[in-house]
């Protein structure tokens, strides 16, 4: 372990860290926003089909089923996903562990970091969150930290850039 503490300051400290709990709210919102249109479409199409085959409640039934299962999943999955999410600034790489079904453990060596974006979508802005996107030369690199407190995201970005060896330039 090295001892550069100036970047640490607790917010970017050592050991595995979790995402901000508010990200659960953001993910749930996103998932529900995806479920609702599907339910509406199913209601309309199902009702029309139902009239054809003489099952007047087909549309209502199908959309209710989708709303129920989809809604439950939309509410529960983000909680579980948040519970699994860990990231860590190890000695030489940013490591992420996440994924509910397929577990993924990615590692991005600091010296491969090209630039770092801080992004904030509308829902994230409402919740006071930021998303940190770390870019390498590879298009396939998986290096996105969703749901960090805005101040923490900035600190983390600075810490990563310091470790990437370009801290002086910022």
């Amino acid at each position: 372990m090295d001892e550069e503490h100036e970047a640490g300051r607790g917010s970017t400290g050592r050991g595995p860290q979790q995402l901000d709990r508010r990200v659960v709210r953001a993910w749930q919102t996103g998932a529900l926003l995806a479920v609702l249109p599907a339910t509406v479409v199913l209601l309309v199409v199902g009702s029309m089909l139902g009239r054809l085959v003489d099952l007047p409640l087909l549309g209502v039934g199908a959309s209710a089923a989708v709303l129920l299962t989809g809604g439950t999943l939309a509410l529960l999955m983000p909680v579980a996903a948040h519970r699994r999410w860990r990231f860590e600034l190890t000695e030489d790489a940013l490591e992420l562990r996440h994924g509910l079904v397929v577990h993924v453990h990615s590692a991005i060596p600091y010296h491969r970091v090209q630039h770092i974006d801080v992004q904030r979508g509308p829902v994230e802005r409402l919740l006071g969150l930021s998303r940190l996107v770390v870019h390498t030369a590879a298009a396939t690199s998986d290096a996105e930290l969703p749901g960090l407190d805005a101040a923490r995201a900035d600190a983390l970005r600075a810490a990563l850039l310091t470790r990437a060896g370009v801290g002086d330039a910022v």
Partner: protein
């Protein structure tokens, strides 16, 4: 003001390169030549109606004039460390490419180019996406070759000592190119197109109807013989097509080493010359289809961060066919240090179980779907026996796939092999690894397996080592990351016999960093 862009008559093609240059004066003519077909409707129109002749002529003149004006307003400048392209008749556009972002430089010469003694220079920069390449079509041949050399080695503007010496690595005879064409994927594609086409031709030709009218009882005999003749014809057409396509793209194929660059030349009508600095090779794949394995042949593909993937046959640096026992010899030059290739470690028996289960599940689903279809159409008996085919084939295929699985890592490289029918061996220099991912699906976790993805620069799909033990997967990823950092100071590993792979790199990892702007564009109106 731009100087005259014509081919310098004096010996030195670099003369005046730092000032703005026009393309070769033949360029607009070549451009018009490639667009001849567009003028056909005009000509037809002019011939059909008297009144239109004048309009057609006017449009033609306009088109020709437009080409010349566009040529007049288009200049390129090579100054120090950047290549600049200014173009646009009304809205001006400027593109600037830093030379250390250049990944590949190709020369292309179509029949018109060869007639005029010029070549098109195509420059690929890292970064993928649109606008990541520039084509200077066309420049005098000598000058084009000089430009190619200058772009490849920034700062070396005089004809260097090593630029003339070429060591030929692979040369393919026409017979081998025909063989490559016949065993390529394109040959299969041609077969798929040919079937329906021949059927259509058969429907259009009234042979059978004539025969039936003459003598209904002869139909059976004649039908059989026409089918046979049709089959033979199809075979001949297919062979000609596949061989022809192969010859068209790969005639006169050579791959050679010039200095630190790989130079690939090929093509019958369009002669292409691609140059790829070997330090920029990110991944090498050795591909062996079933047929090629029988013939002891392989194909070799080299990917760099500039491989766009859009125009696969145009810019790929690949050897279409090579004897299997020569692969290592070529590999040793392309990726110094990658040979001798290590013995690949087998994957755990759990991987075999997983392949078997997956194959059986998939083929059973296929069989079930087939049965349902048969139930509603021709009946389950005896056609239903056909479902035994996919189920029966699944097991040997899965076992073959397992036998193909293997990997080895260390000394700066990862080697990974997989694939039942199309066996692919990926050789990946770890110097290019940008990040690593270890993933495991629920089924993999149950068997204690995981897969490793190594991300490299450019739009190359990630090479994967699938189904290794979870611990081994993490170990491989860690090793890849460690050795990826080692090469940032070149002499850190290598035993002296290594050819320096970073000779042309002013900043060790500059070429791996296309994420930062690879080209700049500015637009303004005049």
């Amino acid at each position: 003001m731009p100087s005259d862009g014509s081919l310098p008559t004096a010996g030195d093609p670099s003369e005046g390169a730092s000032t703005a240059q026009r393309l070769h004066p033949a360029s607009p003519l070549i451009e018009l030549g490639s667009r001849t077909l567009q003028f056909v409707p005009l000509v037809v129109l002019a011939l059909l109606r008297d009144g239109f002749a004048l309009i057609a002529l006017g449009l033609l003149v306009l088109g020709v004039a437009g080409s010349f004006v566009a040529w007049w307003r288009r200049t390129w400048t090579l100054d120090g460390r950047t290549l600049r392209l200014d173009e646009g008749v009304l809205g001006r556009r400027q593109r600037v490419v830093p030379l250390d972002r250049v990944q590949q430089v190709h020369l292309r010469r179509g029949p018109l180019h060869r007639l005029a003694g010029v070549a098109a220079v195509r420059i690929e920069t890292a970064g993928g996406g649109g606008g990541s390449e520039i084509e200077l079509d066309a420049i005098g041949l000598e000058r084009a070759q000089w430009l190619q050399a200058a772009l490849r080695a920034p700062g070396v503007h005089s004809a260097g000592e090593d630029t003339q010496v070429e060591q030929v690595l692979v040369r393919l005879s026409p017979a081998e190119i025909v063989l490559a064409g016949l065993t390529s994927i394109r040959a299969l594609a041609a077969l798929a197109v040919l079937g329906p086409a021949l059927q259509l031709a058969g429907d259009l030709l009234p042979v059978e109807r004539l025969v039936r009218q003459l003598d209904p009882e002869a139909l059976v005999r004649v039908g059989a013989s026409t089918a046979l003749a049709g089959g033979a014809l199809a075979l001949v057409v297919w062979v000609l097509l596949a061989a022809g396509l192969g010859l068209l793209t790969d005639y006169g194929f050579t791959m050679s080493l010039r200095g630190d660059d790989l130079v690939v030349r090929r093509g019958l009508l369009d002669r292409r010359e691609a140059v790829l600095p070997r330090a920029r090779v990110q991944v090498v794949r050795v591909e062996e289809s079933l047929v090629r394995r029988w013939l002891h042949r392989s194909a070799l593909r080299m990917y760099s961060a500039g491989s766009t993937g859009k125009d696969a046959y145009a810019d790929q640096v690949a050897v279409p066919l090579i004897r299997r026992d020569r692969v290592d010899e070529v590999l040793a030059v392309v990726l110094p240090g990658a040979t001798p290739r290590p013995v690949l470690a087998r994957h755990p028996p759990a991987a075999r179980r997983r392949l078997l289960v997956r194959a059986l599940v998939r083929s059973s689903l296929l069989a079930a779907a087939l049965l349902v279809v048969l139930w509603f159409t021709v009946g389950v008996w005896p056609w239903g026996l056909a479902v035994l085919l996919p189920v029966g084939a699944a097991v040997p295929l899965a076992l073959t796939a397992y036998r193909a699985l293997g990997h080895a890592a260390g000394d700066g490289f990862v080697h990974a092999r997989q694939g039942a029918l199309r066996r692919t061996t990926t050789i990946l220099p770890l110097r290019g690894v940008q990040s690593t991912r270890v993933s495991s699906s629920p089924l993999q976790r149950r068997s204690g397996l995981a897969s490793v993805h190594l991300d490299v620069a450019g739009p190359i799909s990630a090479p994967v080592v699938t189904d290794v033990a979870g611990v081994r997967a993490e170990e491989l990823a860690g090793l890849a990351r460690d050795q990826s950092s080692v090469t940032d100071d070149p002499p850190a590993h290598g035993d002296g016999s290594d050819v320096p792979v970073s000779a042309h790199r002013p900043h060790p990892s500059a070429d791996q960093r296309p994420g930062t702007a690879a080209t700049w564009e500015t637009q303004r109106a005049t």
